[in-house]
Amino acid sequence: MTCVGLASIRRIYWSLVSATVCSLALSLPSGFGQAGAKPATPAAAPKLDEPLLTRAPFDRLVLKDAAVVPVEPLAPRPLPTPKKYARRPPSRKKSAELEAREKEIEKDPAIRLFVMPLEGDGLEYAVYREDITDIVYFEDMLLQEADRLITAGDYAKAFEHILFVQNRDPKWRGLADTHRRLLIAEARQRFDQGDLMAGLQFVNEALARNPKDDQARALAIEGLGKLGEIDLAAGRYERARESQSRMRSIDANAPAAKSLAEKLLEVARTIMSQAPQDRPERLDRLNEAYRAWPETEGLSAARSEAMVRWPTVNVAVQEAISDTPRPWGASPAQARAADLTFRPLLEELRESSYKGEPPGQIAARYELVDLTTGELTLKPDARWSDGRNVNSRDVVATLTSWAQPASPAYHGTWAGIVESVAAVDDRKIRVKFTRPVLQPDFWFLRAVMPAETAFSAIVPPETWIGSGDFRWLGNRVESQAAESTFERQPGLDAGPFRVRELVFEDDRDAWQALLDSRVDLIEHVPSDLLLDRVPPTVAVATSPSPDVHLIAIDGRVPILANRSFRRGLAYALNRQELFEEQFLGRAPRPDEFLADGAFAKGTAWDDTEVRPVPFDPAMARLLFASAKRELKITKISLTLDYPARPDIARVAAKIADSLSGFGIEIKLKRWQAGELEESLRSGKPFELAWRTVSPSMDHFLIGGLIAPAIYAPPQSGGLAALASPVILSQVLSLERAFIETEVRAQARFIDRLVRQELPLIPLWQVPHRYAWRKDLTGVRPNSDRLYHNVREWSVRPAAEAKSP
């Protein structure tokens, strides 16, 4: 304590007699009263030059003699306004009743305070409010410092001071003002530096605090105006309009808003006038004009007319194809593109398909000549997009390419069952199998490639041809967005004229686009969507096959081939918590639960007695230790590949975090979902990989659910990627099964083995939902293939409902 402070306090009228002893002991005069009953807590010696943020809070009392005494924080904060109180000298006689009343009154902080000076004897003293001329609270000191830092341009430090006050008392007087000053100053600085987005964030925050803040309003209009001009020049019309709309909401008469609106209108008119009259690109140009300024005169009618002529379905997808469509592609994007652009040999495993009835298939007839020979006859009207007929040469090349290890379309199971493929004549193909095969026609559900490109990994766009109802027009990839466009084949009149896939990495953005009518259909409904909040204009459907999320394991990696380690991994993950808190962000519905294997619950292959592995960190630790001992290693580091989806990224990060607690380092590697799946299926080595599988009910594909590389060419060693030989032998034996009941029994046995051997870490099962606007009709409500019946779709020309 300073000498000035002590001298002042000496003159304060003391009130408690018990203080005398202490006062004497401390060489203090009796004028300073002590609340002797309280235990003395010696305060740490403060350093006055220490920054406020790092020192313990304190307040300053300014006494009558202008002395400033730092004291322990006062309470309550802020103190009530001082009251006047006529004090009596201690010597005067009074009744006990009066004395008690006076004591009661003196407990009022408006009259008297108990303070503990920061320096001194560590005792508490009583001070009358009328002896204090000013109290400087710690919060005020922080705000004063923040103001100083704002002036000095040190906004980060200023914000720390403000945050400190906010944490102590968010309603502290002056806090809002200081914060506002900081926001405005920082926004101005960002504008000056050209970082308009960041500057606008500060201004928006200031406006959110006080919408009538003129300074913030002016600054917002200035920033939005500049941003709108930039977006307009870059062709980002929606964003320019958004800026314009925002300016108008701030100030309806803002000149910058008017100017931007005029420019947008001018752009829309120009685009509209340049739109060709008789080509489908007209709709694209009109849509572009619509994006710029929807209210352009005549635009709405012209767009409606174009939509009737060239109906277009916009589909929001998680991933679009990055090169030409190919029917053997492993990614969901390739599968969708192939559905549009290629026709399968058989559409379904039904009698009508064997007779060639479905229009969307290439085969006019399929028959099994004997137990090991099948014969396919092609339709005479099946054509490629370049006009030539699909002939037996194409089919022979395609079916052969599936059995050639050097071909990208290679499939191990097919290679094992096919003996020869021969063209009988131009339209007839004979397929000889090595043995009687259960449901060999399954393989003819796949599409055929032209003979010239059947063995090519990449087909150049200029030579690409398809056989489907749609032809691929191309992919467009920009910095933030990607899209693929498909156009109906000339001569066809059923179905939409165009299908355009727009990429939305985040399901929630896709959902918002659907609600905003920017897209007509979304491939995947976000998992955190509340189904009871779906608007009546939107239909939501569930695919028959759910999504099973799992972590695939590469058995070629020695540590992952270790059974104890795999079991340890399964025990180490708190999947319930990851599922609810990280993946869903809500409580699961009845059709969302933890998975016990790769097979979906409720299917014929699922063994109902199998239970998911519980979370048991103690067991996990023991098993990890055992694995390390067995392999004589001390450090484990693995890479987890995961597809670029925000919900999966959250869980992957959490998994890495929780496994680090067990001494296992997990490096995360982000992939495009399709690329990851293709890489895994090609047999390339990996360590851990997140997969989302939709278990189809075909026994030929069981192995692929458990180990993605199992059908890869032999030279890749893909079979060894299945970490358990006993499961591998069962899976390969199942491929040779010939009786349906045997298949089921064996599949259930495999399901049990997966739980015991853990060649993968099952995570959870969720339904796969897709949704569409009711303007689009004909979409099947329970299909595993989005474009399965695309030729039955029709999109209403509700142009006025579309607001880009």
């Binding site: 006993v726 591998l728 390969l732």
Partner: protein, 522 residues
């Protein structure tokens, strides 16, 4: 390939003929084992006298052909062959009686079975009897990379009708004669009569062994050489009919004496030499050089189809352990592919190894010895699916018991810690937790029941279920279950009841004393 298979058809025909014509008398004659009496099983007149075998050279015809892509004319070829003969004469000496032929443009009109390994289709007419007891076919072709050359060759032995394995060797054009000699050494298979077999030792009389080598590198009789046993079958007139290689059987020479060699028998069969046949036969041994050429194994199993007709299925996706023969450590593991095949290249230094096919996680299905680089016949195995299924159930149960044991150990460790600290509330919680672990008798009774069912099923269904591996696993599980059963926590309960850690500390002391006593005991 056909020649390597067991000639069951021929045997059957001969047996029928004997029964019809000569009755049981001839049968007893035909069962003479060449091992027990090599002379008795010697074929009729016209064959070589075995007494003079050591002095007999090998009459060999070498056909060297050159790939069209290699610029080597006949003149240069003749020079190389001449050099080769000089080297052979210097190193091998009289044992090889060579007839070297430049095979460029030469055409044979009958298909010659060279299996699938032969790189080019080569034809050879056996009827023409072009001479030579042994025919060596060697081809010079471009190597794996454009700059290199390699020689590929194999031997055909007329006396046994056996085609030797393919051998390859990289060469350089300037040293082609030496390369040719090296590959001839690789493919050459010396022939030996099996002169006796006693106490696991086989006595061989190697043909040409007495023809002194002109250098130290004699390739005829050396310790450490491997031989395959080949059985030659003859008809009643003593005419050679067919031959078969004794499967999974080799002889490794241990010492060489003047008139022959002694070797140890390496076989997956107990007595392959004493095996009896109805047909007149003779056992000979053919040398085989280990090589790094990959060996292809093809495993299959017989399954009954729906019609009851047995069909072959590949043993696909099974683990194969390559180990040191007979019971040495595992040197490598591999998997059979969809067709049940495995192509294995023996690592450096592993000339002879065992191939163990494993069903499930640890059920040994078969174990055979193989010489590195040998060509082996298809292997028929019993995949024992019921045994594998039972084994998997046991393994899963082992996990369960081990997990329960581990959980109890964790709880006990915590109990000990908390009891020492007299934290009685936590001790009470932990005791409750311990009591909630599975009841010990549950494990033992389940195991007893499983054991009984497996034994009964094995008897009733005549299938391998309770195999040796499963018995061992069951014993391990029973031991684990009894260990689990023996765990008690009375001492903690007593401590808890008395609210004193003295009983526990006393128990610890007793245990330490007991341990010390056990340690001190001899």
């Amino acid at each position: 390939m056909i020649r390597l298979r067991f000639p069951t058809d021929l045997l059957r025909r001969f047996a029928l003929a004997f029964l019809f014509l000569a009755g049981a008398q001839s049968t007893s004659m035909a069962q003479e084992s060449p091992a027990s009496s090599a002379e008795a099983s010697t074929p009729a007149s016209g064959q070589q006298e075995s007494v003079t075998a050591e002095n007999q050279p090998y009459d060999i015809v070498l056909h060297l052909s050159v790939d069209d892509r290699i610029a080597l004319d006949a003149e240069k070829g003749a020079r190389i062959l001449s050099d080769f003969e000089a080297i052979a004469d210097r190193i091998v000496g009289r044992a090889w009686k060579l007839d070297v032929r430049w095979a460029e443009g030469e055409v044979w009109d009958t298909p010659f079975d060279l299996w699938t390994q032969w790189p080019e289709p080569v034809t050879y007419d056996r009827r023409k009897q072009q001479g030579g007891e042994k025919v060596w076919l060697v081809r010079l072709r471009p190597g794996t990379d454009k700059a290199s050359l390699e020689l590929v060759g194999r031997e055909f032995d007329r006396s046994s009708g056996i085609l030797g394995p393919v051998r390859t060797r990289p060469v350089i054009m300037t040293d082609l004669a030496r390369g040719l000699f090296e590959i001839c050494r690789d493919i050459f298979r010396a022939i030996a009569d099996v002169a006796g077999y006693e106490g696991g030792e086989v006595r061989l009389r190697i043909r040409g062994a007495s023809l002194a080598a002109v250098s130290e590198g004699s390739i005829l009789a050396q310790p450490g050489q491997y031989y395959q046993l080949v059985r030659l079958f003859y008809d009643r007139t003593g005419k050679f009919v067919s031959s078969t290689v004794e499967p999974w059987t080799y002889v490794k020479t241990t010492k060489v004496s003047g008139d022959g060699a002694f070797g140890s028998l390496l076989s997956s069969f107990r007595d392959p030499i004493g095996r009896r046949y109805r047909q007149t036969n003779k056992l000979v041994a053919m040398a085989l050089t280990p090589s790094t050429v990959p060996t292809t194994f093809r495993f299959s199993q017989l399954l009954a189809s729906t019609g009851g007709t047995p069909i072959r299925h590949p043993v696909a996706g099974h683990k194969v352990e390559i180990h040191e023969w007979p019971t040495g450590p595992v040197r490598a593991t591999a998997l059979t592919d969809r067709e049940g095949t495995l192509r294995f290249e023996a690592p450096e230094g592993l000339d002879f190894y065992g191939v163990r096919l494993v069903g499930g996680s640890l059920e040994p299905l078969l174990d055979v010895p193989v010489l590195a680089g040998d060509q082996v016949p298809a292997i028929l195995a019993d995949a024992k699916p019921a045994a594998v299924e039972f084994q998997q159930r046991l393994i899963a149960y082992r996990d369960e018991i081990l997990d329960a044991l581990a959980r109890r150990f964790v709880i006990e460790a915590r109990l000990g810690d908390r009891t020492k600290a007299s934290d009685w509330n936590r001790v009470a919680e932990l005791v409750r937790e311990w009591r909630n672990t599975p009841v010990p008798t549950g494990f033992t009774s389940t195991l007893a029941q499983w054991k009984m069912v497996a034994q009964r099923r094995q008897l009733q269904e005549k299938k391998a279920i309770y195999t040796q591996a499963n018995q061992a696993l069951m014993a391990e599980l029973e031991a684990l279950a009894s260990r689990y059963e023996g765990q008690e926590i009375e001492v903690y309960e007593e401590s808890l009841e008395k609210r004193s850690n003295l009983p526990y500390l006393q128990d610890l002391e007793d245990q330490a004393k007991e341990k010390a006593k056990t340690k001190a005991a001899p």
